[in-house]
Amino acid sequence: MIEYVNVTKKYGENIGVEDVSIKIEKGEFVFLVGPSGSGKSTFVKLLLKLLEADNGHIYFNGYDVTKLSNREIPNHRRSMGIVFQDFSLLPKKTVFENVAFAMEILRKPRRVIRRQVPQMLDLVGISSEAKKYPTEISIGEQQRVAVARAIVNNPSVLIADEPTGNLDPETGWEIMRLLEQINKRGTTVLMVTHSSEIVNAMNKRVIAIRDGRLVRDENEGSYHPEDDGNTKDDKGLFTI
């Protein structure tokens, strides 16, 4: 359902990703790992068309993402759920409104929104915080709201860029359990992470990139940063 064909994206001199080809099937759970600056976020942003590829094609559900017109982009993005570490919640909206807004842009009737949002908040375990603002809840709870928002429209793919990055281990694992649960319902999950501990415990497909190039792709893979040439101490569970 997702296929990259010889995709290259450079920022001037800097290499984002280079000549990447990969295929991800429906229902998979995939970890995207690699040292800092290796191009993981670039990879993900290309799929969302937050960035334009210089070269190559990205196919998603049968169409070429690189050929989408500006008018088609919103619809394309709506077919995916996203949880980003650095682009989280709308600060001026309550927890409820943050989730509801993802449904509003799909023009769901208010009746449906009022019924479905509490269900989602319940699913991620924060129904009691519905009326609070993001600043009034913990980072872990914020991330759960982000997950609720990402899945409320039942997307076929969930993309998470370091969703556990700022969390303490326990909360991190709770988010992981949530993602696994969502994957079991049939949603494809693509998760970017630095954490070898999480990757090694989950036993999922692992795609490793370095300097923008694909260096490893294993089912039931593991992640040992030093093997992939990471010089930084990235072994720690939740690096900030």
Binding site: L50, P74, F87, K92, R107
Partner: protein, 297 residues
């Protein structure tokens, strides 16, 4: 109204409520500018009205006849004049009519006229022209007629008046356009601050797949609502002040200009429509301009 419009409107109201400082700043600037515009508007409309009045009172040519000119001769002259183009009407005014007219105009002091030994005024023909700017032809024609003593008309005065009012109008118009321009910039800057403060929010919305119009909608309504509120406040202020001016100085103006100020109800009608339109367009333009940069990716 469809649900999208309602959603955008609801969000606009929420934004206004949750950013009160910003709301007040925008509202204040719109109101201030519309107030200034309102005063220009009052001035320009009244100048127009007065010039019209003055022009109307100056559109006659008085052809004074010699003592020797007989009634029959006068009638032939009138018939001749009536055939000329640019002539609206021709009437004969006897010296007695003229004196009566004077007395009427002088009012209280008219008894001075009663003390005159005899009527000093001549019989005359009053020609009303259609277009005062082309009065010369009629004057030349009338001068050539036998039995004419003197012709009085006020083309120069009228021309001067027209020229001056034209200049005033152009200056006022330029100022109004300039002020409008400034107001759109001020509003767009205030809204831009709001937008910038919410740059991250806008990014998040785009990431999640909101269309540009979805993002723009609430800001657009915010601008329009602020514009209308500003128009309401400044409109009421302008009308109240106009009311004070009319009730205090209206009479003096009538004395000086031989025509009054525009009535308050006419002013109300014109001002309401114009201010509403201005408020909406200033708000809408301001918000669209301020968002442009954030939505082009």
């Amino acid at each position: 109204m469809n649900t999208r419009v309602i959603t955008a409107l609801r969000q606009a109201l929420r934004q206004i409520g949750r950013n009160l400082t910003m709301t007040m700043t925008s509202l204040f600037s719109i109101t201030a500018i519309l107030l200034i515009l309102g005063f220009f508007f009052i001035i320009i409309v009244n100048i127009n009205f007065m010039t019209q009045g003055i022009r109307d009172s100056f559109d006659t040519v008085q052809v004074n006849l010699l003592e020797t000119t007989t009634q029959e001769q006068a009638q032939t002259m009138i018939a001749d004049l009536k055939k000329q183009s640019n002539v609206a009407s021709v009437v004969y005014q006897t010296k007695d009519d003229a004196l009566a007219h004077w007395k009427e105009q002088w009012g209280d002091q008219a008894d001075i006229l009663d003390r005159l030994p005899s009527n000093p005024l001549p019989n005359s023909i009053i020609v009303t022209v259609k277009n005062i700017e082309k009065v010369d032809k009629i004057v030349t024609y009338a001068e050539a007629m036998p039995g004419v003593e003197k012709i009085t008309y006020s083309k120069d005065t009228v021309n001067k008046l027209i020229r001056i009012t034209n200049i005033i109008q152009i200056v006022a118009l330029v100022l109004i356009i300039f002020l409008l321009f400034i107001s759109i910039i001020v509003v767009s800057n205030t809204i831009k601050l709001t937008v910038m403060a919410r740059g991250r929010e806008i990014m998040i919305m785009k990431y999640v797949g909101a269309t540009n119009w979805y993002i723009r909608g609430p800001f657009l309504f915010e601008g329009i609502i602020l514009g209308l509120l500003g128009a309401l406040i400044s409109g009421v202020l302008v009308l109240v002040i106009y009311h004070l001016i009319v009730s205090k100085y209206g009479v003096n103006v009538v004395m000086i200009m031989s025509s009054g100020l525009i009535s308050e109800s006419t002013m109300l009608e014109n001002l309401t429509a114009i201010f509403a339109a201005l408020g909406i367009s200033i708000g809408a333009c301001g918000s669209i301009i301020s968002m442009r940069r954030f939505l082009d990716t």
